[in-house]
Symmetry: C2
Amino acid sequence: MVKYQASAIDRTFSALADPTRRYVLLRLKDEPGLSVSELARPFSLKLPGMMKHLDVLSDAGLITRTKNGRTVSVSLSAGPMREAMEWLRRYESLWTVSIDRLVALVEEDEEQ
Amino acid sequence: MVKYQASAIDRTFSALADPTRRYVLLRLKDEPGLSVSELARPFSLKLPGMMKHLDVLSDAGLITRTKNGRTVSVSLSAGPMREAMEWLRRYESLWTVSIDRLVALVEEDEEQ
DNA sequence: TTGATACTTCACCATATGGCAAAGTGTTGC
DNA sequence: GCAACACTTTGCCATATGGTGAAGTATCAA
């Protein structure tokens, strides 16, 4: 297979491809700074399993870990998701209506 | 590992995690209907290798294949990418500026 | 200082992934 | 028909992935 060094965006999409990892990202959005064991608790997953997922998320730059005493707080780092969106945006024209319609939508949104 | 049936969005992100597959999607955007061997040609990749990538893309619903005689034309099917973007959009607030700035940008864009 | 807590690392396992060569299938052209 | 073409399938291989239990490390609390 000869795995060349995977690029940043490879690592990002690959990290996002797992439901456990996506759920971790969702939780961190609402509750930043959760610890490793708090993140693992809702899953039928031992700590080493969660560690591996967190390693994948770190390698992709999607989270940062900071040690406070013996607990580690994990927080989100959304930059790579932005790049993933930029990549996807190239295809947006294949499903969206015109830019005029987008402006109208934004304006509707503002009126509320 | 006990691989539960991967969900649609799992398959989408997973399909996007490979540079060969992303390049295939880019080519198909500009040149819809390319054949399997035309897609394989630019890579140092034999046909069976490209077949596997196309299978992954099909399973994710990102391409469709239609047989014309002995050649197969492949075309893009962007729906799943839209869903991937919707997922990512939840995090957009973590990196974007205000909606006012977005409106300004859209308007700037229109003036050109 | 000692024991519990909160990770972290290690060794191991089963399955998935991504590649190949070779053989098989269906079309086309002579 | 039959040869060439365009896939497609099969069998194989090496490595990656996602999980475990067990052992190791660092910190806190008594």
